[in-house]
Structures are given as structure tokens and as C-alpha cells.
């Protein structure tokens, strides 16, 4: 419509931009991942692209990947879940305490962290919808404290080392295929992400989550059960945080009470770098995965180059701002073309 009043050359330039936008929209963040891969290869040509290094990446990022996908579901509804780091540690310590007490057959222990996560998630969801606490920030800030306190209470705040191999399998196991050892955590994350992608793209409830984030009032009017769907979002987020606890427990062969401090911030960073909007209704599963990889690769590359942790903090902060700024530019370009 607006195009009609423009000169032909302007229109052509704009239309090129308009045609590029969907691609940048979908793959822009992947460019950032490719850039990271390039920097890694250039600075550590003999090391970075070796299987030995690459096979470390899934294990190093599996927990954040699990946290981030749950966080994404909540952020899509324009919510936030600050409790995931504490859910992680509560899930982990509950499992470790039960393992030490030999209270359950080891194979059943695997379900414990997920159930703990679902429990806290349910509490978050009901706090938001039944207690009508004004913003998810509040109830999840509450459970951030409650869950970490409970984790310390049940364990006495002392690390518990030595977990059964069944508990360790998802976080630390490998599947040998020929000469190559595939980390089980990679398979877990792949299944998780494909599952969430199908759920969010192709199920009615998945689309409802986007709709609620885009415009809760419109969603309610069009017959969506907003409350029930929101509770589901927080339950899913809790469940993935519980899974993250299982992965960290497996990887470190222990439950330790300081696990997951600040983990919610890494998860939120990954979601935001991946192009989701804090105001809900926007973002993709692929973007979240890319966001997780950007943070993970950045740490990996900085470690390989012996860069001290202060610079790591600075650079991760810059990447968050840069990624969101690119997003803003992209959207400004998009809205100008309407």
C-alpha cells in the first residue's frame, strides 16, 4: 500500500529488503552461530573443530539447553520463570538424597527430578492463575528461594557424591557408533527440541501459547482456556528444569547445593539471543537452540584461548545486547515495509 507512493528505485530497493526479511528472520541467529564457529576455527585451528572438542559441546550445554527450552515456553506467553536454577538444584538434591538412602530402585530415581520439577512448576502456575499474583516474576521469585531452601534442608547443604549409573546415564553416558562416541545428552537434547518444536508448531495447545503471549485478551475472547494453558507452560518449564538437574547430576556424579546459582540468567539469555520477545508471542525453537549454542561456543572458545573469566562475562553481555540490537533493526526494517 505504502509502496504505491514511492519512486520505482526506492520501491525496488525496499522490495529486495522485504524479500530478504523472512530469511534473516529465520536464519539471522544461525549466522551468529556460524560466526562463532569461524572465530573458533581461526583462533584454534588445530583444536576447535576436532571431534575431541566438539564432542564436549553437548555435555557442556545440555543443562542450559534443557532450561532454555522450558524458559522459552514461558517467555512465549509473555511470562518469566526465575525459579529454574533452584528447581535444578532441588531436583538434583532430592535425587541424590534418595539415591544415598537407597529408597527407590535406581531406574525409578530417573523420574524423581522430573516430578520435582513438575511439582514446582505446578505451584508457579497455580500461584499465577489461582492466587492471581500480579506477575510471574513474583511467584517464581518466591519459588526461587523456596526451592533452594528446600534443597539445602533435605541435604543439610552438603554435597552428595556417587550416584547410580542409571541416574548418570542421561547426563554422562555415551552411545558408541563405530569409532564415534555419541553423548547421550546430545540425544536427550535432540529429542527434547524436536518434541517441543512439534508441540509448539503443530498442536492446538502449542499455538495457544503463542496466542496468549501475543494478546491474552484476544486469546481469552476467542475461547482459549488461558489459565489452564499458562499452568501447563510453567509445568513444562519446571519439568525441563528438573531434567536439567538430572543432567548436571549425571555429569558431575553428585548433588551439590550450589548448583544452578544464576542458571536462570543463562537460560533467559539463550532465549533472548535466540530472537524471542520478552513481550511474548514471538520466537522459535531453532532460535533457542542457536542461543544456547552461541553462549556455549563463546565459553568454549574463550576457555580454549585461556581468556579469563572477567572477559567472558563482558563478552557474553555484549553478545546479548548485540543479538537483541540486530533483532530490533530487523523488526524496524520489517515494520517499515508494512
Amino acid at each position: 500500500m505504502a509502496l504505491a507512493t514511492q519512486t520505482p528505485s526506492e520501491a525496488r530497493a525496499r522490495s529486495l529488503r522485504v524479500r530478504l526479511i523472512p530469511y534473516i528472520d529465520r536464519f539471522g541467529i544461525l549466522l551468529l552461530v556460524l560466526l562463532m564457529l569461524a572465530i573458533g576455527t581461526i583462533t584454534q585451528p588445530d583444536v576447535f573443530l576436532t571431534w575431541r572438542n566438539l564432542s564436549n559441546i553437548p555435555g557442556q550445554n545440555a543443562a542450559n539447553a534443557a532450561l532454555a527450552i522450558g524458559m522459552f515456553v514461558v517467555i512465549v506467553t509473555a511470562g518469566i520463570d526465575l525459579s529454574v536454577g533452584s528447581v535444578l538444584v532441588l531436583a538434583m538434591m532430592t535425587t541424590a538424597v534418595l539415591a544415598r538412602a537407597q529408597a527407590l530402585p535406581p531406574i525409578l530415581l530417573v523420574f524423581v527430578p522430573i516430578l520435582v520439577g513438575i511439582g514446582v512448576g505446578l505451584f508457579n502456575g497455580l500461584g499465577l492463575t489461582v492466587l492471581r499474583l500480579p506477575h510471574p516474576f513474583i511467584v517464581t521469585l518466591g519459588t526461587l528461594n523456596i526451592a533452594r531452601g528446600l534443597a539445602n534442608l533435605i541435604s543439610g547443604g552438603v554435597p552428595i557424591s556417587g550416584l547410580p549409573s542409571e541416574v548418570r546415564f542421561l547426563g554422562n553416558g555415551v552411545i558408541p557408533i563405530g569409532d564415534v562416541q555419541i553423548p547421550v545428552s546430545l540425544v536427550v537434547i535432540a529429542v527434547l527440541y524436536v518434541g517441543f518444536w512439534v508441540f509448539l508448531q503443530y498442536t492446538r495447545t502449542g499455538r495457544h501459547l503463542y496466542a496468549i503471549g501475543g494478546n491474552p485478551q484476544a486469546a481469552r475472547v476467542s475461547g482459549i482456556n488461558v489459565e489452564r494453558t499458562l499452568v501447563l507452560a510453567y509445568v513444562l518449564c519446571g519439568a525441563t528444569a528438573g531434567l536439567a538437574g538430572l543432567l548436571v547430576a549425571g555429569r558431575t556424579n553428585s548433588g551439590f547445593p550450589n548448583a544452578g546459582i544464576g542458571a536462570e540468567l543463562d537460560a533467559i539469555s539463550a532465549v533472548i539471543i535466540g530472537g524471542a520477545s520478552f513481550f511474548g508471542g514471538r520466537g522459535s525453537v531453532l532460535g533457542v537452540l542457536a542461543g544456547v549454542l552461541v553462549i556455549g561456543l563463546l565459553r568454549n572458545i574463550l576457555n580454549l584461548n585461556d581468556v579469563q573469566v572477567f572477559w567472558q562475562q563482558v563478552l557474553i553481555g555484549l553478545v546479548i545486547i548485540l543479538a537483541v540490537f540486530i533483532d530490533v533493526l530487523r523488526r524496524r526494517a520489517g515494520s517499515a515495509s508494512d
Partner: protein, 327 residues
């Protein structure tokens, strides 16, 4: 090949005991009768009250539990009333300040404190001093000129730990340091001590990275170090949690028996790992002494005696030979 230097190990242990002996406590003050009639400010029946303010609750951490035990037992021995308090978390600075304020109001005569944040605690401790309350620091050095510090010399402790690497590895071996959070004085002192010690004995430090005291982060950082330097021979971690995290990475890479891992803190898990041959050594602090010396010296200050500005509570190298005691 790393484990067969037992003779050297023996001498390292001997050295450790030497250091511990140097730091032996000054002779205990004569026990006081429970009532303190010579204290004019307090009513005759009321005993001297000393606040021991820790960074974290004893119920949550064996380290603080030992500080608490040391303080309470010494208090009983000396006949003073010892109040042990701690904020719910080591990051909860406000809660610690509030607890100190409340105890000043309740009339304690001395405060032995492990400050969660030295700068933030300074104003309240200055106020205490103005009211004639004696202040000294335990575990973590605070920000108050002239106040005595009673705790581990972390730099010497780290040197004691890396000494084990020096004695068990040939000159020029590739070693790595896993640092804690080095904006904290403990993290910095341990990183500095390790660096100095390893440089002095001619080791080749190929990586110095922070894993922020965290076990999971240490596994990731150790993986990255191994990727870059597969032939690494020794690792010093500034705490045991990171050492145990590094051990997981080494086990997964199948090189656990080729790399000497030394930690710091002597927590029970590390002691178990040492006995299992997964890591070789750690450095024990003496938190019990921090509590006990804290109370003892606080009482000396109340009585107007002078005490040294720094009192080392000692460190000890823990290896297979003595790890059983720390399990």
C-alpha cells in the same frame, strides 16, 4: 607413575605437619569462672557475651559447623557465653549486618566475625567499636584498620598444595590452575599462591581459568583444557568441588591415572576420592581453630590484652595417608 613417589609424599606430609605446628595456638588463657564480677557494665550474674558471626549456617556446611563447634567448646572452657549466628546464605550481606546490629543492642562485649562482604560490614563494625565492643575477624579478613585476622593463610595453603605437584612431577611438566572467583580475597590468594609455587619450582602453567568454585563448571573447563593440552600432567584446583569436577572430565577422557589432581578444603567427598585414587591431594584448613581462637582472642581483647594482628590457623596437606580422618 604418579603414585609411586611415596617417599616424596611422606616428606610433603611431614612438611604439612611442620606448617601446622608453626601455627599451633598460643597457650590457652586460664579458664575463667562463669560469673565476671570485674565487669562493671554487666550485672554481676551476667556472663561475658561474645558474638561469633559466620558467613553461612553450620547446619548447611561442615566448614561452618566446625567453626561453630570450636567457638562453643572454647566458650564453655573459658566460661563465656558464645552466641553463634549466620545469615541463611553467604551472599546475604544484609542479614548479617542486621544480626550484628541486634547483638550490639543486646550488649555483646566482643564480635568475632567472618564478613560476607568486608566493605558492607565496615560501618556497623565501626559503630560497635565506638561503643567499646572489641572486633576481630575470623576466616575472611575484614576492612577495619588494626583489627586482628584469625584464619587460613590461603596463599601458603595453595603453595602447600602445589608443592605436592612440584615434588611428584618432573620440571617443565604441563600443569593447569582452576581458579575460584578471584574477586574474592580467598580466590585470589589461592590462585596467587598456586601460581607462585608452580612457577618457582619450574612447572609449565599452560592454563589458568576460573570455574567459579563450581563443580559442573570445572568439568567443562577441564574438558576444554584437555582438548587444548591432552598431555597435561597436573591440576591444582582452588577448592575440592572444582577438583572433583575436573576428575569427572579426566575420567571421561580416560586419563584420570595420568594426571595428578590437587584440591583445597579437604571436604569429605575429596577425602573419599583421594582414598579411591581419583585425586591425589587436598589442603585442609582448620575451621575448628578459627572458632576456638576467635573466642579465645576476643576474651583477651575484652580483658585489655594485646593480640597479634594476624593469627594463622594452619593448613595441612591431605593425601592417601591421612585422608581417612577427613571422610
Amino acid at each position: 607413575m604418579t603414585q609411586n613417589n611415596l617417599r616424596l609424599l611422606g616428606s610433603a606430609v611431614a612438611l604439612a605437619f611442620g606448617v601446622a605446628a608453626c601455627a599451633a595456638p598460643p597457650p590457652a588463657a586460664a579458664p575463667q569462672p562463669p560469673a565476671q564480677p570485674q565487669q562493671p557494665a554487666a550485672p554481676a550474674a551476667e556472663p561475658i557475651r561474645i558474638l561469633v558471626s559466620m558467613k553461612g549456617p553450620g547446619g548447611g556446611n561442615p566448614f561452618w559447623a566446625a567453626v561453630e563447634r570450636g567457638a562453643l567448646e572454647k566458650g564453655k572452657e573459658l566460661g563465656v557465653e558464645v552466641i553463634v549466628l549466620a545469615p541463611p546464605a553467604e551472599s546475604d550481606v544484609q542479614a548479617q549486618i542486621a544480626q550484628v546490629e541486634d547483638q550490639i543492642a543486646k550488649g555483646v562485649k566482643a564480635i568475632a566475625i567472618a564478613p560476607t562482604d568486608p566493605a558492607a560490614l565496615r560501618p556497623v563494625l565501626e559503630r560497635a567499636q565506638q561503643q567499646g565492643i572489641k572486633v576481630l575477624f575470623i576466616d575472611t579478613k575484614g576492612d577495619l584498620p588494626g583489627a586482628t585476622f584469625i584464619g587460613t593463610n590461603n596463599e601458603l595453603g595453595a603453595k602447600l598444595g602445589v608443592d605436592y605437584l612440584c615434588k611428584n612431577l618432573p620440571k617443565g611438566s604441563k600443569v593447569a590452575i582452576l581458579q575460584g572467583i578471584i574477586v574474592q580475597s580467598t580466590g585470589k590468594a589461592r590462585a596467587d599462591g598456586a601460581r607462585t609455587g608452580l612457577t618457582e619450582c619450574g612447572m609449565n602453567i599452560v592454563a589458568e581459568l576460573s570455574a567459579e568454585w563450581d563443580r559442573a563448571k570445572a568439568t567443562s573447563v577441564m574438558e576444554d583444557i584437555l582438548t587444548r593440552h591432552p598431555d597435561i600432567q597436573g591440576v591444582f584446583a582452588s577448592n575440592d568441588n572444582m577438583a572433583l569436577g575436573a576428575v569427572e572430565a579426566l575420567k571421561n577422557a580416560g586419563v584420570n591415572d595420568k594426571v595428578i589432581v590437587v584440591g583445597f578444603d579437604a571436604n569429605p567427598d575429596a577425602a573419599a576420592a583421594i582414598l579411591a585414587g581419583e585425586m591425589e591431594a587436598t589442603v585442609a584448613q582448620n575451621p575448628y581453630n578459627m572458632g576456638a581462637f576467635g573466642v579465645e582472642n576476643a576474651l583477651k581483647l575484652i580483658r585489655g590484652e594485646t593480640i597479634p594482628e594476624v593469627i594463622d590457623t594452619g593448613t595441612e596437606l591431605v593425601t592417601k595417608e591421612n585422608a581417612e580422618r577427613y571422610k
